[in-house]
């Protein structure tokens, strides 16, 4: 009961702050004796408005996601996916990838857990592509900086990339390109299967999990948000309009593949990259190109590929990168064409 009161109070405070962001930013600007007519004033206003907005949305979405994730322990997701066929299985896997708790350091246990439980390789890949790409941080930032339409497009197209890439990888029948030790895996005597499907929790535990999720995620990324929005603010105030059109605009056909290639070796989280991306777009970069860059940075990161190298032979790694990059390429062009 006490918890419920606290939750409602926090929700009210959240709503109140969120609906007064402009007022607060305007007041801050006025207090610093700046006006939005100057580059400095515009940059500071952008920072004072966007930072609390992004952080508030991040807090809200991460909390809700933390609660939702308690319903989808990896063990439960695996049980839902075991033995699914290509197609439906891929769609289910990609969707579950959004709501199942995942961190890249757990990619291998999860991968092996899926494969050994009879989840098809292609279905497993749909999960592994969707899980990092469509995460609550990316969605919160897109929502606050671009609006719900772009966030929804990112969600939909991200799912589409994960589903179709998984179907392609499944159809290629590449099971023999798993590392030998993975194929030979058999569970030892001390293996203790545990019943941990997350369904037995009560609401107190679920809300506590949401709270824990907020501390873990927001505690980790808030600094990136501040730095990212700071960079974005500088770009907003000082970079001239349309300066990027000539090499990042929608008419430049090679910009999308170049953005994807550039994104692979880069490793950043959505928190740092979205604010910069948003500022670039305001200066004439095309939305599709910049979002392709962002997807590539998040979904195809060199460190993650190194982790996967432990369980996949290079043939499968190359196929994985190729298929996902092609998917992102299509998404980039579609975005550029739609908007």
């Amino acid at each position: 009961m006490r918890q419920l009161v606290l939750l409602v109070t926090l929700a009210v405070i959240w709503l109140f702050s969120y609906s007064h962001l402009t007022t607060i930013a305007d007041a801050l600007i006025a207090a610093m004796q700046l006006t939005r007519a100057t580059p400095l004033g515009e940059a500071v206003h952008f920072f004072c408005y966007e930072t609390p907005k992004v952080l508030l949305l991040l807090l809200g979405i991460v909390f809700v996601m933390g609660v939702i994730q308690t319903f989808f322990a990896p063990e439960r997701t695996r049980a839902l996916l075991a033995g699914r066929r290509l197609g439906i299985g891929n769609a289910l896997a990609a969707t579950l990838g959004i709501v199942t708790p995942f961190c890249s350091c757990s990619a291998i246990p999860l991968f092996i857990g899926f494969i050994t439980a009879g989840v098809p390789l292609g279905v497993t890949f749909s999960f592994l592509i969707a899980a990092p790409m469509i995460n609550e941080i990316a969605l919160a930032l897109l929502l606050s900086l671009f609006g719900w339409q772009v966030a929804a497009l990112y969600l939909g197209l991200g799912l589409l990339v994960a589903i179709s890439a998984g179907i392609v990888i499944g159809a290629l029948k590449m099971e023999q390109y798993l590392q030998d030790w993975v194929r030979a895996i058999h569970y030892g005597e001390d293996a203790a299967p545990q019943q941990n499907d997350g369904l037995a929790l009560d609401w107190t535990a679920r809300l506590a999990a949401g709270n824990q999720h907020v501390r873990e995620i927001v505690g980790k990324v808030w600094l990136y948000v501040v730095i990212g929005v700071g960079l974005g603010a500088a770009i907003h105030g000082y970079v001239p309009e349309n300066v990027l059109v000539s090499f990042m605009g929608r008419e430049v056909w090679w910009a999308v593949p170049a953005a994807i290639l550039l994104g692979i070796p880069m490793y950043s989280n959505a928190a740092g990259i979205v604010p910069v991306v948003q500022a670039l777009i305001a200066k004439g970069a095309a939305l599709g190109t910049t979002l392709a860059f962002m997807m590539s940075v998040i979904a195809l990161s060199a460190p993650e590929l190194l982790i996967l190298r432990k369980v996949l032979r290079w043939q499968l790694i190359v196929t994985f990168v190729g298929v996902v990059a092609t998917g992102i390429l299509v998404v980039g062009y579609v975005f550029n064409w739609l908007l």
């Binding site: 708790p101 350091c105 246990p109 999860l110 857990g113 203790a192 299967p193 873990e216």
Partner: protein, 80 residues
């Protein structure tokens, strides 16, 4: 003496979990023999699907994320 194994490849959550387990055991005065299992092949023998995992006397008691202090304490309390 309880045999505690921390399963994890060395990410930050694994290190935090290890420190937490050590701290709680010491605070409760429980003698433990701590082992870190870092080879993926060995970790996977415990059938966990997320790291870090914690094994006490051969039983998996936790997997995925940093356990809450209360939970860690309960592992050592039930043992006495």
């Amino acid at each position: 003496m309880k045999a505690v194994k921390i399963l994890g490849t060395g990410c930050r959550n694994c290190q935090t979990t290890r420190a937490l387990v050590e701290e709680v055991a010491q605070a409760l005065g429980v003698a433990i023999e701590l082992e870190k299992v870092e080879r993926m092949e060995d970790i996977m023998r415990y059938r966990i699907m997320a790291t870090p995992g914690v094994v006490i006397d051969g039983v998996v008691v936790h997997s995925g994320g940093i356990p809450e202090r209360r939970t860690v304490e309960s592992w050592f309390h039930t043992a006495e």
